[in-house]
Amino acid sequence: MKLTEDAMKIDAEQTVTRIKRFIKDYVEKTKTKGICVAVSGGIDSCTTAALSALAIGGKRVTALYMPEEETYSPIEAKHAKQVADKFKFKLETIDITPIFQAFCKVLPIYDEHDKLSRGNLKARTRMICLYYYANRLGKIVCGSSDKSETMMGYFTKWGDVSADISPLMDLYKTQVRLVAAHIGIPKEIISKPSTPQLWPGQLAEQELGIKYETLDLILLGLENFMSVEEIAEQLQLETEFVKRIKNKWLASEHKRRPPLTLKQEFRTIGTDFRLPYTPSLTKQD
């Protein structure tokens, strides 16, 4: 397998058609009223919200823009609104600052210097608001995590990744860009640097230490059972560097799983309880 830009190419039209069908099918099968989605103004969330609107109609999509004062950016706010206007879905703004501050005040071990725990608290606060909306409105939560960030564990456990469906999770970031361009997400949203907005000035590529164009090719190689040495040679990278990426992927597996339990009985949740989800057959109030 050749790890070139061509290997990341997708049939954008077909991908969009399939994602729209997937979203619509799930909403229909679960007999829910629509979708709640968090929109930050970034490419992943704008694309997810737009695809949701294209799949089931903007009127059934509730998007939440949830800024907080430390990371607030008028540009992100503008981008969120721009996409909402273009794809005709409802956008509500919830300033999470007072909720976040209340958490900080109440938690006895709160430490303002612990950047990561503090940042994750923001992502989880957004998740709480989003699921409140979904419960209240009888909708499902549509997540916007992509494959690159999910494989790298570059997300908050039980935070931004929490969702009922995640239609972009099998697409690398560079492929999400192709989908975004295909459905008409504005160029400035596609080309700006990604940020999880957990603290001021946070940039994804800077933290990951690699451009998505290269990261995606490494991950594609790993997905296709290629060895670290093969990938490093093809991409002309240091073997140690590729190994570090592989280790990040493996080390973050706990973030992508249901909680681990100790097997003690006949069939165990998360291991050998293998059930299909059959909402149309078993839907309960």
Binding site: R18, D25, R267, L275
Partner: protein, 278 residues
């Protein structure tokens, strides 16, 4: 035996574990196809239950002798005076936990025959060996529709199987399937290859719909012994297509592409030895 028959490919989106819904849907399609003079209606693999049933397979399995769902389909076929091929989870008559991924053929006079899937995919999203026992028989049924053999989905990757069916005299091979979108390109090539290399008609019906994030691509097709795709259903959506086939066409193609004449049976011993020593 009739030379010309009309085959309907009923590409449906079964609901996982919802046999009642699936039987009603199948009944509707059988009626519709019968009104259009179909002689045979082919449904996808595990059409009766949906494909990704996982641990529910044990409660969804039915023995053929007393299986209520099977009997309902057989009754509908009798009433409409047509043949129907469909996939179901078959429970062994002897041991209840032994189950098979089976293709059943019923006709106006009731049960015609069954084929138990031999090659059970257990890789990627597939976990069939976890649940099913493989089949060991390659029957060809002499029917009013001609001589019919059956294969199921992943079996199409193994040319030996269709070759055996052809050697046993099959004129029509029914291939029922639950193939996800990522495999489309392989199936489009393999269905043509299996028909052409054996100079047989091949009726391929694939599932559609999404089960646990797995999209089945449809694209059911009827392939002539020449390799020509006589009829092709839509991708990704439910569809019902009908086409006529005439066995008289086989004579011309068998002379033009004489694969049976050119068989080299001596290679098969070698293949067996090599395959046993991988």
């Amino acid at each position: 035996m009739t030379q010309e028959i009309t085959i309907a490919l009923a590409q449906i989106a079964s609901r996982v574990a919802d046999k009642e819904y699936n039987i009603k849907l199948m009944e509707k399609k059988i009626k519709e196809a019968s009104q259009k003079d179909a002689d045979l209606i082919v449904f996808p693999e595990l059409a009766l239950t949906g494909y990704l049933c996982r641990d529910l397979v044990y409660e969804l399995a039915e023995p053929l002798s007393e299986g209520l769902s099977f009997q309902r389909i057989a009754k509908i076929a009798k009433r409409e005076s047509v043949h129907v091929a469909f996939g179901m989870i078959e429970r062994s008559e002897k041991v209840s936990a032994v189950i098979y991924n089976t293709s059943v053929l019923v006709g106006p006079s009731g049960f015609v025959g069954k084929y138990r899937k031999m090659h059970l995919p257990t890789h990627s999203v597939f976990e069939e060996k976890r649940y099913f026992r493989p089949g060991y028989e390659t029957p060809v049924f002499k029917t009013s529709l001609g001589k019919v053999g059956m294969i199921i989905c992943y079996d199409v990757y193994f040319p030996e199987l269709t070759r055996i069916l052809k050697l046993k005299g099959a004129q029509l091979i029914i291939c029922i399937s639950a193939s996800p979108s990522t495999r489309r390109v392989f199936f489009e090539a393999l269905t043509v290859a299996r028909a052409m290399e054996n100079t047989v008609f091949l009726a391929f019906t694939n599932l559609v719909g999404i089960e646990d994030g797995l999209q089945f691509w449809g694209g059911s097709r009827l392939v002539a012994p020449s390799g020509n795709v006589v009829a092709q259903a839509k991708y990704d959506e439910e569809d019902l297509i009908l086409a006529k086939i005439n066995y008289a066409d086989m004579k011309r193609i068998e002379a033009f592409v004489p694969t049976l004449r050119d068989l080299r049976p001596e290679f098969y011993d070698e293949m067996k030895r090599e395959a046993q020593d991988l």
